[in-house]
């Protein structure tokens, strides 16, 4: 079987399978989950049983059901963030490449300064001002993350604007927006797609970390990072409760990384080169 004309490697198949399963779980959470997100069905940290396959959490909610509903929240927030970040980052990056020196200098210097603060620290500062609702979380992360996208988009686009067909479009009298959309975007897509995977991984881990710190997705919504936080104390009694959501996070990122590695090998870019904090 081929995808977009390429045959996935064995590891890529594993990655694709993990991603597909997790996304299906997220979409059909209501139908799959045995209990509801917030229903208390047992004691604190019950052992796994037929009723609760992987036990219960710190206030007796079914762990499996929360994992299933958590998939929706955690993956959803990370996905929306990444899409938004790409819309902002790509537009700004292309604009910097196409729009001339002044726009380029202004945007690049702003991004340079933003890049010199660690993302987590920057996000913490902003969240302390705005508080943490899902909207502010997505907006903050998307804007911060778009600085990374900006750099790639600009780098790719600066190589494209010197091409003859862009020159031709300019001479035809096409506008900036038209050139960005019709000439640059289609040719810049291949490297941007693998970057999308990497940024998604990054944002996904980032949302999970923030929720783990209690500053991301807020209760009563189930999300994997928050579940690790809620059940963290169980580990000192030898109960693996926080490991289930942590494992789900790990599986998702490994899955995406496997697929990204495959896409990168098609584009033959050195692996790990664009892994950035």
């Amino acid at each position: 079987m081929k995808i977009f004309g390429y045959k996935p490697t064995a590891t890529a198949w594993i990655g694709l399978a993990i991603i597909t399963i997790f996304i299906l779980i997220a979409i059909f959470a209501d139908a799959i989950a045995p209990y509801s997100e917030s229903e208390s069905v047992g004691q604190t940290w019950d052992d796994p049983s037929f009723a609760n396959w992987i036990g219960t959490d710190n206030i007796g909610r079914d762990m499996l059901s929360r994992l299933i509903f958590g998939a929706r929240m955690t993956i959803g927030v990370a996905l929306v963030t990444t899409i938004l970040s790409f819309i902002i980052g790509t537009t700004a990056g292309f604009l910097a490449a196409v729009g001339g020196t002044v726009i380029d200098q202004i945007l690049s210097r702003i991004v340079d300064v933003m890049l010199s603060i660690p993302l987590l620290i920057f996000a913490l500062i902003i969240l302390s001002v705005f508080g943490s609702s899902i909207m502010t979380l997505i907006l903050t992360l998307a804007i911060l993350d778009s600085t990374r996208v900006f750099r790639l988009a600009r780098a790719v686009a600066t190589n494209l604007v010197v091409m003859e067909y862009v020159e031709a479009a300019r001479l035809r009298g096409e506008g900036l927006w038209w050139i960005m959309r019709r000439e640059i975007l289609p040719n810049a897509l291949p490297p941007m797609i693998s970057e999308f995977g990497l940024r998604f991984c990054f944002n996904f881990l980032f949302v999970a970390s923030l929720s783990f710190l209690g500053l991301g997705i807020q209760p009563p919504y189930a999300d994997w990072g928050g579940m690790v936080r809620d059940n963290g104390k169980a580990i000192s009694f030898g109960i693996p409760a926080p490991l289930w959501p942590a494992m789900a996070i790990a599986m998702m990122t490994v899955g995406v990384n496997l697929v990204v590695d495959w896409i990168l090998s098609i584009n033959s870019r050195p692996s790990g080169a664009s892994a950035e904090m």
């Binding site: 340079d112 300064v113 933003m114 010199s116 603060i117 660690p118 993302l119 987590l120 620290i121 920057f122 913490l124 500062i125 902003i126 969240l127 302390s128 001002v129 705005f130 508080g131 991984c201 881990l205 999970a208 970390s209 783990f212 710190l213 209690g214 500053l215 990072g225 690790v228 963290g232 580990i235 000192s236 009694f237 030898g238 693996p240 926080p242 490991l243 942590a246 494992m247 996070i249 790990a250 990122t253 490994v254 990384n257 050195p270 790990g272 080169a273 892994a275 904090m277």
Partner: protein, 315 residues
């Protein structure tokens, strides 16, 4: 060379200054202001006015910025909003703790990862190379608290080798400290090792395609001799900058790790500050983290310039 380095250091200082503006401005972008955001919808105009005056918000923002910035230069980071304590007094011992933990992790991580990276490069394509590659890829993809909890479950709960909580006191001896902070240090080590290791391997291997390496092979040297004598010195520059960059990453990774192990460092302090929306505390911690980050990046560049002759002349 000196000129290039000085330019780089000045650029670093300028960046730091710009960063301080950004950190300050981030708390100003709110429609309305901080006071109304914290007090919420129900606040009466009188309480708002009092609170604004207390925070000094009734003065123009650029004046407040310069006041904050110059006080910070003198080591005065202001007073915490929630408990009215002088921030620097609370911060200083915590900063020392964080630096201890980061230094501890770095001492393990740097030699191990450079060594393993070279071993992987020497045995390129063989079992050990693949094994090291897969393990490092896994530690990159996995969240930091996952590693932390797995380590706790096995090393602290099942086999009780190390304590699961790292509560340190100033009076504690060095040996005790090293023992108690072992688990957070290991977790941090695993977090930063992967990048350093892969980068060491990649930079050694990228040099292997150079003509002078082929020459060395043709002279009859063994693969490990070629790598250690000819490839490694030329790969040193990227390796050194990756190490410095990863130390910067260590500074950030410390935040989550400190929360997992309840370690009294600056990361936990900052998270507490964010939860309580204590802006002066958050600004102070943010400035320190950003300062460390910018500082390490500058050091990385300066070291790269010193090691690699090709970078010594500005283009």
């Amino acid at each position: 060379m000196l000129k290039t380095i000085i330019i780089r250091v000045v650029l670093g200082l300028l960046t730091l200054w710009a960063v301080s503006i950004l950190i300050f401005a981030a708390t100003e972008v709110l429609p309305g202001d901080v006071a109304s955001a914290i007090l919420g919808q129900g606040a009466t105009p009188e309480t708002l006015a009092v609170f604004r005056h207390e925070l000094g918000l009734d003065r123009p923002s650029y004046i407040r910025y310069f006041e904050w910035f110059f006080n910070a230069l003198h080591g005065d980071l202001g007073i915490a909003m929630t408990n009215k304590r002088v921030i620097i007094e609370v911060l200083a011992p915590r900063l020392a703790n964080t630096l201890f933990l980061a230094g501890y992790a770095a001492l393990i991580a740097i030699p191990t990862s450079v060594f393993l990276g070279i071993v992987a490069a020497i045995n390129e394509g063989k079992f050990i190379d693949r094994f090291v590659n897969i393990v490092s890829l896994m530690t990159i993809s996995v969240p930091e608290f996952f590693i932390a909890y797995v380590l706790i479950l096995y090393l602290a709960v099942q086999f009780e080798v190390f304590p699961s909580l790292s509560t340190v006191f100033p009076e504690m001896g060095l040996a005790d400290k090293i023992y108690i902070t072992a688990l957070p240090a290991f977790t941090l080590t695993m977090l930063v090792m992967a990048h350093m290791l892969r980068m060491t391997r990649t930079s050694v291997l990228s040099i292997m395609s150079q003509p002078y390496i082929e020459m060395a092979f043709l002279k009859g040297l063994t693969r490990s001799q070629v790598i250690v004598r000819h490839a490694l010195p030329n790969a040193a520059a990227p390796i050194i900058s990756v190490i410095a960059l990863n130390l910067a990453y260590l500074i950030v990774g410390v935040v989550v790790i400190e929360v997992v192990f309840v370690y009294p460092g600056i990361g936990q302090f900052m998270v507490d500050g964010v939860t309580k929306r204590d802006l002066p505390v958050v600004q102070a911690c943010g400035l320190i983290f950003a300062g460390a980050f910018v500082g390490l990046n500058t050091i990385a560049d300066v070291l790269a310039i010193m090691v690699n002759p090709r970078l010594r002349h500005p283009r």
